[in-house]
């Protein structure tokens, strides 16, 4: 059939099972927008800034089995997507971004709103395209989705000149073939390596599983649990691996790393075998590499061969999809117990109770997280940006439902929490979604309250209002003698702000009112903002300063354990 390029794009999106698009229009992308009304199956949500379109698509993709889709126009529209693309690239989130480009004849002439979007987004996408031939549109979109969601997922950008969207082409949906000779994700584990891994597991006395985002992406919860239970192996979940293993399970040891649970880091230090599953040994997990897990052999399972031996040497590398590899491995792993080891970790938990919240009258942010957990009975998707609020949300909410924690891990993007929560709620409309926000990050993307109100997207916002870029202030306290350069800032009246957006707003200034206000927020139908005026100089503990090891771990001060002066840190 004869269609315009814009119609081909819409038809292709529908064939890829797209139902929601986050975007913002402009001149170059206009032909696509003017075509949207012909395709009511494609619901468009107009954001107020393109960065939010990318983050919303990201949040949406993380909580569904779908690819997130965002659209922007050429030039500034496209460059505004960049942070969102980089975020999705770092956290392996399947996304397709479509951008308008100036007409083909104008490319390279510094035309109005022209940017070399393919060049700009090259290092922050899994792949990108500039479609110069309208006959290539259908195949390109099909390839973009295929690349975004298979192998190690990631964002793919398709840049389309305005006149390509307008040109009429022959479209035959039954005859669209992808052509990717260089793209063959490796999906199953090598049988020899599987046997080697099973042997290491059977010989280990103190094995530990490090479960990462790959477990969630691969939906390998049952397989992970089977491995852990079969061989009685304690499970540590990385920041992005949180919710891949139920935290109420007897084998759950919590999060490792810079702000991980002390007992998780101690367990890694004492372990003789790390079974790393779909994780990439980020520096926030390992600290100083030479002191990381010094006694352990390493089984490293990852779908991306380039992650093997990148940061930590694998004794047994296992390249493949996590689910497939675990199924293969579970067949060979024999029933085993590690009673002494599990008891030792239990004892460490008692000696280093990182998950405890001080009992006092202060309005502590950790306490707010714990109350949200209790009020929702753990049945909520929690979305965060980056910083102290993120770490408290990771530490003090006990995740038991797969895929219930959405956070900006690798890139550490402030402001992710607002649009990503919007995307998550659109993706899972029947789930409760709490966006836990820093007061700094919230103000980077708060313009989306308008989008949220317009579509009545029922997100509950908990702003941790401490008047500081809290994590940076903590570093200044620890490493720069409390020299608080530019971390303190003025905040607007967040309740009035909510009201300006025709939203419900509450303010909480004392501990006693926390639970009641959370309940009120949940009882209200529609988006709510709660301004929690929390202790302004509360610190996140434990902390392993950057570039150091578990030996240098700082734990929360308590009777008999005083804080000492720390050395300056690197990054």
């Amino acid at each position: 059939m004869k269609l315009t390029g814009a119609q081909v794009v819409c038809e292709s999106l529908i064939r890829e099972d797209v139902d929601v698009i986050f975007g913002l229009l402009g001149g170059a992308i206009l032909p696509l927008y003017q075509t949207l009304p012909q395709y009511p199956q494609l619901k468009h949500i107009l954001v107020r800034h393109e960065q939010a379109a990318a983050h919303a698509a990201d949040g949406y993709a993380r909580v569904t089995d779908k690819v997130g889709v965002c659209i922007a126009t050429s030039g500034p529209g496209a460059t505004n997507l960049v942070t969102g693309l980089a975020n999705a690239q770092m956290d392996s989130v399947p996304m397709v971004a479509i951008t308008g480009q100036v007409p083909r004849k104008a490319i390279g002439k510094d035309a109005f709103q022209e940017t070399d979007v393919q060049g700009v987004t090259l290092p922050v996408t899994k792949h990108n395209y500039l479609v110069m031939d309208p006959n290539e549109l259908a195949r390109t979109i099909k390839e973009a989705f295929h690349i975004a969601k298979t192998g190690r997922p990631g964002p793919v950008l398709v840049d389309i000149p305005k006149d390509v969207l307008q040109e009429i082409v022959d479209y035959d949906p039954e005859n669209v073939a992808i052509d990717l000779p260089g793209y063959k994700p490796h999906l199953t584990g090598d049988p020899t390596q599987i046997r080697a891994a099973a042997k290491l597991i059977s010989e280990a006395k103190r094995p530990i599983i490090l479960a990462g985002h790959g477990v969630i992406i691969s939906r390998a919860y049952a397989e992970l649990r089977e491995l852990a239970e079969k061989a009685q192996i304690p499970v540590i979940t990385t920041l992005l691996g949180i919710s891949s293993f139920p935290e109420d399970h007897v084998l759950s040891v919590g999060m490792p790393g810079m702000h991980g649970m002390a007992y998780a880091n101690i367990a890694i230090d004492r372990s003789d075998l790390l079974i790393a599953i779909g994780m990439r040994f980020d520096d926030r997990v390992t600290g100083r590499i030479s002191d990381f897990a010094p006694r352990a052999k390493v089984i490293h399972i990852d779908i991306d061969p380039a992650e093997i031996d990148k940061n930590v040497k694998a004794t047994v590398p296992l390249v493949g999809d996590v689910k497939n590899v675990l199924v293969q491995l579970n067949r060979l792993v024999t029933n085993k117990t590690h009673l002494d080891w599990v008891r030792e970790i239990e004892q460490t938990k008692k000696e280093h109770p990182s998950h405890l919240i001080p009992e006092n009258n202060k309005l502590l942010p950790q306490y707010v997280v714990r109350q949200i957990w209790e009020a929702t009975k753990g049945n909520s998707i929690i979305v965060t940006g980056v910083g102290q609020h993120q770490m408290w949300a990771a530490q003090h909410f006990f995740y038991t439902k797969p895929g219930s924690f959405v956070t900006s891990g690798g890139l550490g993007t402030m402001g992710f929490e607002v649009p990503a929560a919007m995307g998550a709620k659109v993706g899972r409309p029947h789930d409760t979604v709490w966006s836990i926000c820093g007061d700094g990050g919230f103000q980077m993307t708060l313009q989306e309250l308008a989008t949220i109100r317009e579509h009545n997207i029922d997100v509950k916002f908990a702003i941790f209002n401490n008047g500081f870029h809290g994590m940076v202030r903590q570093w200044q306290e620890f490493f720069y003698k409390k020299d608080y350069v530019e971390t303190r800032f003025f905040n607007p009246d967040f309740v009035k702000l909510a009201e300006a957006y025709d939203m419900k707003g509450f303010r909480v200034t004392e501990r006693a009112k926390v639970r009641d206000t959370i309940e009120k927020a949940m009882a209200h139908k529609g988006p709510v903002l709660v301004d929690f005026v929390v202790e302004s100089e509360e610190n996140v503990y434990p902390m392993i300063p950057a570039g150091t090891s578990v030996k240098e771990m700082l734990e929360a001060p308590m009777p008999g354990r005083e804080l000492v002066d720390h050395k300056d840190a690197s990054t």
Binding site: G119, P123, H127, G182, K184, V319
Partner: protein, 179 residues
């Protein structure tokens, strides 16, 4: 995988890539972004239609760096095959064109002697300059260039290294791409 000392070694890697706009940019960008050090890069058509072959010479401290560079190269969607030729028996060649000062017949004669000794070629003769074409391994080119220095080199053009395995083995079939 072993960890060698800290001295740099040159490794030859070849890649078969789809002949599409921007591929060179993608490859170069990846090497720059990840801090890999390319000594030379040569691109040309391959025996397969629509596929080009790139030859890289990578300066690497150790095998890990080469391993990582090879893996990151394989991740680029348009890269079809990557072969690390470091451990292979290969023929490697480079081409250089050198413009040398040759103001009189005596000097010209001396230059011609060196050129013949090394089986290079004179490809242009002007009133007071000669252009020499040298093909061979880098060491041979380096030697001729150092000999020419005495005469006065006006200009040097060198291609990067191109390499191919000896015998029946084909770079297409070794080291199949994964991921």
């Amino acid at each position: 995988m072993t960890t060698n000392g800290t001295h740099y070694r040159k490794h030859t890697i070849t890649a078969l890539v789809q002949d599409k706009p921007g591929v060179l940019n993608r490859v170069a960008s990846m090497f720059r972004r990840r801090g890999f050090n390319i000594a030379s890069l040569a691109v040309g058509e391959s025996e397969v239609p629509h596929l080009s072959r790139m030859t890289f010479v990578v300066n690497a401290e150790n095998e890990d760096t080469v391993d990582q560079a090879t893996k990151q190269l394989r991740k680029i969607i348009e890269v079809v095959k990557v072969t690390d030729l470091s451990a292979e028996d290969i023929v490697a060649r480079e081409l250089a064109l050198v413009k040398v000062r040759a103001p009189d017949s005596a000097i010209r004669g001396e230059i011609i002697q060196v050129v013949e000794l090394f089986r290079a070629k004179i490809v242009d003769v002007a009133s007071d300059t000669l252009v020499i074409e040298i093909t061979g391994e880098e060491s041979k080119i380096d030697t001729i260039l150092s000999l020419m220095k005495g005469f006065g080199i006006l200009e040097i053009m060198r291609t990067g290294r191109v390499a191919i395995t000896r015998g029946t083995k084909s770079a297409l079939k070794t080291n199949a791409k994964e991921g």
